[in-house]
């Protein structure tokens, strides 16, 4: 068995079986991470470059740890401290890196489609670690893994994505993944932050946070992405928090079990209040832990396909 794709550009390109295979493999890597020696020799002949054209804490550290736990050699690259600032193009940068015998590329870029473009021009596996407002596939995979771990499965579960749906690549990847796996998805936020026609992706739309929380088993609360909002889309952060912030009072008023997730970084007191983020409902730190195992699975499964790459 192996993946049907040679790159992980987005959840959109994956089959249901691919997702199941990644989640299954991740469970075995999670077991490796609980051992006294949290490292396996699997990718000891593989070199991976982490190309980050946009800031990141969790994703970059998580990928780097995943690579090291698999015994791969890693190179870290941050655009801000490289020749990119001297005007080098994306393809030139990557081809220069690859000529030093690098096998895989993990890439984050602020431009939507940057990894897709690259995948047509270079002979290495590419893993999208977030491209603009398009997709962040490994985040959706680790979210799915965490939901499955907590609730036992994905099919038929009700998952709400709350907040800045418009600018969130996490939201889009989650929508593709959860609908493929048979979960019900509802997006909730102010109308200015929910794209028109999003219901064509097979999701419900709600503008009422309390009703959404009442409906869902899992609430994945997304960050307000002020850096991508080039015009005012709501009056103030305080107003946003009053209408769409998830607070302890609101969660307590539900009178039911609910799982709270957040892909990080959290704007505390904006989309999520501290008394919920740090409560027993929250699996935010489990998400981070599972991220390493899920990324190990993706790297392992794609590294096994490196001989099939032809450009």
């Amino acid at each position: 068995m192996s993946l049907s794709v040679k790159h992980l550009l987005g959840i959109k390109d994956l089959k249901k079986e691919d997702i199941e295979l990644i989640l299954h493999t991740a469970a075995n890597f999670k077991d490796v991470l609980q051992r006294p020696i949290k490292k396996v020799p699997t990718l000891r002949d593989t070199t991976i470059v982490n190309l980050f054209y946009e800031n990141s804490t969790r994703t970059r550290i998580s990928f780097e740890l995943a690579e090291k736990r698999l015994s791969a050699d890693t190179i870290n690259f941050a655009a801000s401290s490289s020749s990119v600032s001297k005007g080098e193009t994306l393809i030139d940068t990557v081809n220069n890196v690859l000529s030093m015998k690098v096998d895989m590329v993990v890439m984050r870029h602020s431009a939507t489609g940057a990894p897709h473009f690259l995948s047509r021009h270079i002979p290495a596996s590419i893993i999208n670690a977030g491209d603009g407002i398009n997709e962040h596939p490994t985040q959706a995979l680790l979210d799915a893994y965490s939901i499955k771990e907590r609730l036992g499965g994905l099919e038929g579960r009700k998952v709400a994505l709350i907040g800045d749906i418009m600018h969130s690549r996490v939201a889009l990847s989650n929508i593709y993944l959860l609908t493929k796996m048979g979960a019900e998805v509802e997006v909730c936020g102010p109308p200015t932050l929910i794209p028109k026609h999003i219901e064509h992706l097979g999701v419900r739309v709600s503008y009422d946070l309390k009703k959404t929380l009442q409906w869902c088993d899992v609430a994945n609360v997304l960050r307000i992405q002020l850096e991508r909002q080039h015009k005012p889309l709501f009056s103030s952060l305080r107003e946003y928090n009053l209408y769409y912030g998830v607070s302890r009072q609101l969660v307590d008023s539900l009178d039911k079990e609910i799982v709270i997730m957040h892909p990080g970084p959290i704007n505390r007191g904006v989309e999520l209040n501290s008394d919920v983020a740090d409560s027993g409902h929250s699996i935010i730190l489990d998400q981070v832990e599972n991220g390493v195992a899920v990324r190990m699975a993706v790297l392992y499964l794609l590294a096994g396909k490196k001989d099939e790459l032809v450009v």
Binding site: D31, L43, L301
Partner: protein
């Protein structure tokens, strides 16, 4: 041409003998542990552990399962044939223990070599022994030999040994294909 190496009755006699040999060497198993190799060695290990418990009047036996997928030496040598891992469950330390590694068929020895690598990530055993049901002794590619053997078979590389278990395959039988 198919040749039967074991039928159910014959297999039972051999399993009893292997168990007796283990008890002879490890007595009450106070410092010995059983590690079954995933995926196909588990059926044999399950049987041996069951028989040991009967022999040792219900004394608990430390028994773990080891998956070697991430330790294989043939990763990426056959494109498109990636091994998918199964569960590893060793919830005790192997430090200072006498480990008995169990697999159904010993062929090239490469799986066992990977298994030895994997074991070291769970501690430093005092000793490691190998128990196999079938030893295909003309086919070794690394210097690994078993300590307990059900039956030694001289087989050509083109032939296949198939071990069937009641629990999984509906009957106990070993055949040479």
């Amino acid at each position: 041409m198919m040749k039967s190496l074991y039928n159910q009755q014959h297999l039972k006699i051999t399993l009893d003998r292997l168990t007796a040999e283990l008890v002879e060497n490890h007595r009450d198993f106070s410092n010995a542990v059983i590690i079954g190799m995933q995926p196909r060695g588990i059926y044999l290990a399950d049987r041996i552990v069951q028989l040991l418990k009967e022999q040792l009047a219900g004394r608990p036996i430390q028994y773990g399962k080891l998956d070697i997928t991430f330790y294989r030496d043939d990763f990426n040598t056959k494109p498109g044939e990636l091994h998918i891992p199964t569960e590893t469950s060793i919830d005790f330390s192997l430090d200072g223990k006498n480990v008995i590694l169990i697999d159904d068929v010993l062929y090239t020895g490469r799986s066992i070599r990977s298994g030895l690598d994997a074991l070291l990530d769970f501690g430093r055993p005092k000793s490691v022994e190998l128990l196999v049901l079938i030893d295909r002794w003309f086919s070794r590619e690394v210097p690994i030999q078993p300590d307990y053997v059900g039956k030694t078979v001289e087989s050509a590389t083109a032939q296949k040994v198939k071990v069937l278990w009641q629990e999984n395959d509906g009957k106990d039988e070993v055949v040479l294909l």
